[in-house]
Symmetry: C2
Subunit: 381 residues, 2 copies
């Protein structure tokens, strides 16, 4: 099985490392300026330029048997054209829907799955009215595209902050069309108890597996660590999470791994966002589940039976190793490898805040895991 | 961490695939005619020729931080010289001891670990006397070197078979010294109930982990499948196996993974042979244990804490995919990938009897696993 992946980051790396043992071969498509160190050695890298047709890309990638993506910010027209040469999973249309918050929320809402109240506004449209319609401050404004890890998001608690946003909007609108942001959604800022995510996979013939839901902890919009299973999550909420992901997978005819981030507010579970791909909050599955999200994504897109998602006994933790301010090298932090600790390193150049690797931790209980997190926080600075 | 491995077979492949996620980098040393497809893409391959000094080899391999082996049949003088440039694990002297059955048995016997009664004889020395000393027929004669997967072994049940062996011995002795076999051991043929193997790892500071013992099933000297844990193995025998491996690791100051094959005869556990490396009977650990034998070998030689060897609940099976007579291609048999089944494929050219890959199977119980084995036997022919 030859797999072509659009993107050359850590998710592509981990997909390839999951597929090599099964005899899969990989090729990667890189944007003109994209770093490719993560996939170095794992298969040929094709550097895209504006002159290549979809056929050129397909042939340069070695005529793969199936094409997939490691991120939602891909060129959907190219993806649609590649589909004339081989299957593309997930389907370009679901990638297209999810890469824009307006379309994404419409998709979720149309399935009757709860979201925080939201409205959309474009360019110079007044935002005050939209805010009023969803019940006033506090709100969060997000660009409908180009948002990730907290970029292009504004938390608005009062009129002063709204005014500041309006000024910034003017600046953004003056940028050239291709770089600018022209549409936003505004959503009610949820006072949520915590964020959980649920990850599932589906094959083209409709088989579905789901992983145990985990709880995610962010800092400035970037995932710092996850705990699996989400501590003390009620059976009701676990079931809601399973219901959402299975409906999303089934109703959209999805093929591959899908991740759903949700806010927990009391007994409510509101979808925050979807990711049509393997996801950072599922990295724990590499050591904490019978089959990793990466292997199951490959099994799904290769039309092979999915593997068990059973999680290891005890509690599993995932801790992101983010680039630190003063670190100027890419020294592998193998001093963190311990008895129940597994390192996954991405071969990147260090930069502050950049995801350089992660550790999976298998612990007896939440207290033990908490201790490991504390110790990591104090060492990895 | 840069790791140099002597050998380019499937064990090197699986070591590299276990090390890549941890940020390890690999280089491989190939014999002049050795196929290198198994490690293709996983790191530079240095093709050894007779003119290279140990320093040349070390530099060509990229000056690794540590050197290890994937087989015992390596050039020990080279290994000894490489030790002047970086650590070599396991130590060349233990590799030297194990690569010769006479030295291997002496090592085991000196530790007071039980073996089948045995004697050694050289060149034209009479074998009848040796056979008489160990109690007469039936016996097994094995060359002290160059034996693997049943090669250079003779089962002798009576005088006629001994006569046939003596004729063959004459022919072998007439071969040029470098190709000939000049020393044999003869051992009492044990009426054993079954063969089990036990695998352990040790770090240079003396930490030891051991995996659950498994039962091995061979056909014509080649491992066909393993079942873990070894079914209905008494606590007494489990403990004996653990005692043997921990003494072998500790007393020899071993660093890395060591495998010990044993015969079970009633309440007796007799050592059959040692392997100073990761071992086919430990491949189940890739999907059936918290940490694979490959990762633990790397952790050991890199002086990192060893990972948990806890095995998944239920029963784990390993099934070797051996090249079949009529198959002339290297088609990946991904049709075997099922819910609880994990494929590891070595990227080799198919040849009858050659180990092309293996499947790990996670099952509820022995009956279920037996059914999977039966189904595989009927399909993989």
């Amino acid at each position: 099985m030859k797999v072509g992946i659009l993107g050359c980051g850590q998710l592509s790396r981990m997909l390839a490392l999951a597929g090599w043992p099964m005899g899969f071969r990989f090729s990667f498509l890189a944007d003109p300026d994209e770093p490719v160190r993560c996939v170095e050695g794992l298969g040929p890298v094709v550097r895209q330029d504006g002159l290549m047709t979809a056929r050129d890309v397909y042939v340069a990638m070695g005529s793969p048997d199936v094409i997939t993506v490691e991120r939602e910010s891909v060129c959907v027209p190219l993806l649609r054209q590649l589909k004339t040469f081989c299957p593309v999973y997930p389907d370009p249309e679901i990638v297209w829907a999810i890469q824009n918050r307006h379309r994404e929320k419409t998709l979720v809402a149309d399935l009757g799955i709860p979201l925080s109240p939201w409205e959309v506004f474009r360019e110079h449209e007044p935002v005050q009215e939209a805010i009023a319609r969803i019940g006033g401050f506090p709100v969060v404004i997000k660009s409908t595209e180009d948002g990730y890890d907290g970029h292009n998001q504004w938390v608005i608690d009062n009129s002063e902050q709204l005014e500041a946003f309006e000024k910034e909007r003017e600046t953004l609108l003056q940028k050239p069309a291709s770089k600018g942001i022209h549409e936003w959604i505004v959503e009610k800022k949820i006072v949520f108890d915590r964020e959980i995510s649920v990850i599932g996979a589906r094959t083209s013939n409709g088989n579905i597996v789901m992983y145990t839901s985990g709880e995610n902890h962010h800092n400035k919009g970037i995932l710092v660590h996850s705990v699996i299973p989400a501590p003390d999550l009620s059976e009701l909420l676990h079931n809601k999470a399973r219901d959402y992901i299975s409906r999303l997978l089934q109703e959209t005819g999805y093929v591959g791994v899908l991740a759903v981030e949700c806010f927990v507010a009391g007994n409510e579970l509101l979808v925050n966002e979807l990711a049509p791909r393997v996801h950072n909050s599922g990295h724990w599955t590499m050591d904490g589940a019978a089959t990793s999200q990466f292997e199951n994504h490959l099994r799904a897109i290769a039309s092979l039976p999915l593997g068990s998602t059973a999680h290891q006994g005890g509690v599993v933790g995932m801790y992101n190793l983010l680039g630190q301010k003063h670190s100027d090298d890419s020294r592998v932090p193998d001093q963190f490898i311990a008895q129940g600790t597994y390192l996954h390193w991405y071969n990147k150049i260090s930069r502050p805040g950049r995801k350089l690797g992660h550790l999976n931790i298998l612990a007896e209980n939440e207290e033990e895991l908490g201790g490991s997190f504390e110790s990591l926080k104090s060492q990895w600075t």
